[in-house]
């Protein structure tokens, strides 16, 4: 096994294990912290694909900003292990079955997708994720959609301020 493979399996195990812990944890604060661990593992995968910019932006935006806000809300509402409502057994069973069906659909999709067959992950030689190439692609080929997205973000920001104003 090469170093890349070892790292891939380690990061995958970390991501899946942490994701399971997000669901299993009784305490919502623990769930958030495990979710942060998931983001770290996914950033590790991005680095393996040589997408350094994506990796670090994933950390700054999700782990650094959004999850901190999640923690804020959970800490301020003082949610604890015992304040989580207990669902009955049938609900849990229905959740497991529907989740399993969804997983099956996803797996079969990935297996049958023509786009993905015979494609190799560009672990070292891929360089589209480097900031220089990514910037060139975004601002040459996809500039219209990029600008429209930024307008969308701006309107969301202004909307948040308008809603947040008391008077």
């Amino acid at each position: 096994m090469s170093i890349t493979e070892i790292l891939f399996f380690f990061l995958s195990a970390l991501a899946i294990g942490s994701a399971i812990m997000v669901l299993v944890s009784k305490n919502p604060v623990y769930s958030v912290l495990w979710l942060v661990a998931v983001f770290f593992a996914i950033s590790g995968h991005y680095i393996l694909l040589n997408a350094q910019f994506l990796a670090i932006v994933n950390l700054i935006v999700y782990a650094g900003a959004i999850m901190v806000l999640f923690l804020f809300v959970i800490m301020l509402m003082n949610l604890n292990a015992h304040s989580e409502p207990q669902k009955n057994l049938w609900m849990k069973l229905a959740g497991v079955i529907s989740g399993g069906c969804f997983l099956m659909v996803l797996v079969s999709l990935v297996r049958q997708a023509n786009e993905l067959s015979n494609k190799k992950a560009l672990t070292v030689e891929g360089n589209i994720g480097l900031i220089k190439n990514l910037g060139k692609v975004l601002f040459n080929d996809y500039v219209v959609s990029f600008e429209i997205t930024s307008v969308l973000f701006l309107s969301a920001m202004i909307g948040a301020i308008v809603i947040g104003k008391k008077d």
Binding site: I3, V29, V36, Q52, G64, A65, L71, F72, L130
Partner: protein
């Protein structure tokens, strides 16, 4: 020596470099605590610590020993795991910044060219921001796990302050990155070292002032030390901590201060560049060592300015802090960015 198709000498080289840099940072941080007390004493016209050793030079060791020997108390209603995780996370995040800072040029030792930087990644400065945002967790987890209202309030204050000032900081930085065209700290330093190119402070004076203010807020230094405002919150987010866990929290503040000084020196003050001097006339190894010395001197000057401000200016009120961040610094940073963009367009 290749096993697993890997250059193990490179690993050894990097491990040695990491060990040196981490221990040097901790050593400097140790003496920064001493310097803080001495500077405070001088500014307040009193002698300061002077009993332990000549001029009180052994004082930091005495303090460290005292912290380690103190009884370790974990409150019975605290969340034990997170209570322990908090200070560790704060300290780790503080030390992780040192990986991307170029501490000097390249040295040639044993026939190898060794770059005095742990990792020259092409997103260096974004990495710093990533680590800073992870550092917030140390404070938040510690404050929440203590199960104390004052600690929680302080942690929430600290986190919201850090997020608010990170915005202005990154916008101030974007203006600088527009002029450098690179995110790698080594490239930024080398550009400033080139002949006929001034330090970035000459091109981005307003950007530097904004960055400096925000860095002070990120380090929780007075006048931005609201998370530890004693008169409102007793002691702040580390109120329930004792022994070396408290020491880690207090110490990480000093490590943060050193790292932010190093980042500012690299971004705006030429990093390991010696002013008014062409390093290429010196032999390579000596030039690299002198460069490290130059960077350390710049860091020490920054740390002194940090302390000078701390013991001169009183603390902000919370609403003043938020008004300054959102209503003054962010608009100023945006204006700075627009002016820089206009200049670059005009020169093209």
């Amino acid at each position: 020596m290749t096993l697993l198709a890997f250059d193990w000498l490179l690993i050894i080289e990097k491990l040695v470099l990491i060990a040196i840099i981490v221990f040097a940072s901790l050593g400097i941080a140790l003496y920064t605590t001493f310097a803080e007390r001495k500077v405070a004493a001088i500014l307040q016209d009193r002698p300061g610590p002077e009993r332990a050793g000549p001029f009180g030079l052994f004082q930091p060791f005495a303090d460290g020993l005292k912290l380690i020997m103190k009884e370790e108390i974990i409150p019975s209603s605290a969340n034990r795991n997170l209570f322990i995780l908090g200070p560790g996370l704060a300290m780790t995040a503080a030390l992780m910044t040192c990986a991307v800072i170029p501490w000097g040029g390249t040295v040639s030792l044993f026939g190898r060219e060794i770059s005095l930087q742990i990792a020259d990644i092409n997103i260096g400065i974004l990495y710093v921001f990533g680590v800073v945002s992870v550092g917030i967790y140390g404070m938040m987890i510690g404050g929440w796990a203590s199960n104390n209202k004052f600690s929680l309030m302080a942690a929430l204050r600290g986190a919201s302050q850090a997020i608010s000032y990170e915005l202005a900081m990154s916008i101030a930085l974007i203006a600088l990155l527009m002029t450098t065209g690179s995110l790698s700290l080594r490239t930024i330093v080398e550009q400033q070292m080139a002949l006929g190119h001034l330090w970035n402070i000459a091109y981005q004076p307003l950007g530097f002032i904004l960055f400096f203010i925000c860095a002070m807020a990120e380090c929780n230094r007075t006048p931005f030390d609201l998370p530890e405002a004693e008169n409102e919150l007793n002691f702040g987010y580390h109120q329930e901590y004792s022994s070396m866990k408290l020491g880690f929290y207090l110490f990480s503040e000093y490590v943060n201060m050193i790292m932010s000084s190093a980042v500012m020196a690299s971004l705006y003050f030429g990093g390991y560049d010696i002013p008014f001097f062409n390093e290429s006339v010196l032999p390579q190894n000596i030039a690299a060592l002198v460069g490290v010395g130059a960077l350390l001197i710049k860091i020490v000057i920054f740390i002194f300015v940090f302390m000078w401000i701390r013991w001169t200016i009183p603390r902000f009120r919370y609403d003043q802090l938020m008004n300054l961040g959102w209503k003054s610094l962010i608009p100023l940073a945006l204006v700075n960015m627009l002016i820089t963009g206009a200049f670059i367009l005009a020169r093209m």
